[in-house]
Symmetry: C2
Subunit: 371 residues, 2 copies
């Protein structure tokens, strides 16, 4: 039985938001949705998904389970997703029955590094020089075209540094290029010229169903072992660079007719005393580098994502505090009691059953100063 | 099988907090608990409880169902409650098996107006002149002792003005006193002298397992039709009165060896240019007049209640903004779209399935100015 409220511009409170993926991002989306009176139904293959604990409905099924997908579509008013590796086939199947926001195109573009790079450069947005690599012969041609140092990345399913291998500048004989190709399992790949960046920043931005955009201030990110370690706001970039980053975000959102929150990672290159932005990658979802918005902004990235996918007006993305977000990775989370006692530290834990090395267990936002 | 983590000073993340009652207060407690990595299990007789939608576990059972209570105790690490009319027998039964916070005594005192008044006056805390009324003869004696105008209130199960009837000053023949007694069903009652108050304020305060107290700033409350309409901070009271209110809160918390958040309602009486406080009632739980803390404080009443019952250190109760909280009663909630679009308005909806007259559907916090 189709749900009667479907298709209206703004979903009323009590509507059901379907979330594909049950990790911490889904959990925080569900918490934000609950505050606005929505119910959430979370679809995830993993029975121990953190988002299940705060959702009104849970579906434990594979993304290839068409029966489960069809039933899910019947029981929700809109579908969103918390990670970019949801199979496009699953999202497309759902989209025939219920609005999927952000749309399938954003998902398809973001989950293939080659499609993403081509999309961005097609918009005239600067990216690292890149070339597709399908086989060892192609690798040689790509290296000749792009130069080294370079990074070989699988087109699909990479995250937190997985599926990547570096080719140094002095790889005269090409041994390390072949080793890199082996390291990523000889999967279809993109070779990217290494960008000599001074720092990494990202922009979290939301676009509503009405096309309006709200962009949060750029955030400066520091990675450790390829995993985000801290995000600090304000980022050390000029006002012009900050404006350019927001402008690029707006162009990407418009080109994808995007609905929801997007995370856009940039390299900041310093050349001759000037800053230049290069887009590293985009994530069609709420983003780890946006967790600071929960405590330093009136409306968080999670609430704005919910507002967007529900067809509600976006809330303000203004920031009231300078803040440093620190991820709690693995055993970092064992310090929960000290963090809970630290004045000015806002602790967020994801309810994961087990601490594992490299696992994102929570984060802490430290408010540094009022703006 | 007893849970192994029980009895430790601070419950680790992943512990299960049992909540008796599934209304909006339980829902907001569950949301705050989830953010700290806890799981919640909600016990409520009503299958359509708003808190069920955000809790990892749900028990639909009567508070008299001892089998359900015993099973609940086995599956949680601590028990708290979101309303004061949980039967003491249920709380006592649970307390034999698992910590119940706040304790059973606070519950027993707060759910009987006579016990509450006697407890407060025993501490030397000013309350309205009162007398117990068990029958019509007692009513006459009480009226003679207390005088009129007065309010006759059932000892138990009153809320939002229910179970109350007024006796005016000019009730010479006593007809209206008898009518008032009839109106409250001739239930055991307390007669309270009417307090000619200038305004109503409340204090929301938390006490940790370690005995430390964090009190939020006094809030000024306006009721309509006996239901809280707005709560505004700062309240229009002198610094001395604000200090006195916090001091009274501290004495009540200490006397009850209380763990958790309490709401204490005061009348402010103005006499000869001076303010005097009279405690109207206490609520051994998070409180509607504390909802402003969600958006105007670093740590909300809900998080501090969770911290307290979990044995965690309390968070700061400081306030960063002036704020007005407005309840959305019944059809007020139909304005959700306009409220969502209002800059500076933070909307909270409870996910109740049906709008009914007089039903609390949500609230909105309007931040007025930074402190």
């Amino acid at each position: 039985m189709p749900r009667s409220r479907r298709g209206g511009a703004a979903l009323p409170p009590g509507s059901v938001i379907g979330i594909l993926g049950g990790g911490q991002l889904g959990r925080m989306l569900a918490l934000a949705a609950a505050r606005l009176g929505f119910r959430c139904r979370v679809f995830c293959p993993d029975a121990e998904s953190p988002a299940f604990d705060v959702a009104a409905g849970q579906v434990i099924a594979a993304y290839e389970d068409v029966g489960a997908l069809d039933a899910f579509a019947e029981n929700v008013d809109v579908v969103t997703y918390e990670f970019e590796n949801v199979p496009v086939a699953a999202a497309s199947r759902l989209a025939k029955r219920v609005p999927v926001r952000p749309g399938v195109r954003a998902l398809a573009v973001a989950q293939d590094r080659l499609a993403e790079k081509e999309f961005l450069s097609g918009l005239g947005i600067p990216v690292a020089p890149f070339a597709a690599v399908d086989d060892e012969a192609g690798l040689g041609k790509a290296l000749a075209a792009i130069g080294a140092p370079a990074i070989l990345k699988t087109r699909r399913l990479g995250y937190d540094g997985k599926g990547q291998a570096t080719i140094p500048a002095d790889d005269q004989a090409g041994y390390q290029a072949v080793a890199a190709f082996d390291a990523i399992g000889r999967a279809p790949a993109v070779l990217e010229r290494f960008v000599p960046f001074a720092r990494e920043v990202s922009v979290i931005a939301a676009r509503g169903l009405d096309g309006r955009v709200a962009a949060y201030d750029p955030v400066e990110n520091v990675h450790r072992n390829h995993i985000l370690h801290t995000s600090s706001v304000p980022a050390r970039v000029s006002p012009e660079t900050a404006g350019e980053a927001a402008s690029i975000a707006g162009r990407i959102l418009a080109a994808l007719d995007y609905v929801g929150v997007i995370g856009i990672e940039f390299f900041v290159v310093e050349e001759a005393g000037r800053e230049r932005l290069v887009v590293n990658e985009i994530a069609p979802r709420v983003h780890n580098s946006g967790h600071w918005t929960e405590d330093a902004c009136e409306v968080s990235q999670f609430e704005n994502h919910v507002r967007a996918v529900a067809g509600w007006p976006l809330g303000p993305a203004g920031r009231h505090s300078d803040v440093v977000m620190t991820n709690l990775i693995g055993a970092d989370a064992a310090e929960w009691l000290a963090l809970a006692a630290e004045p000015g530290a806002r602790l967020h834990l994801y309810g994961k059953r087990e601490i594992r090395p490299g696992r994102k267990m929570g984060h802490v936002n430290r408010l540094v100063a009022r703006v």
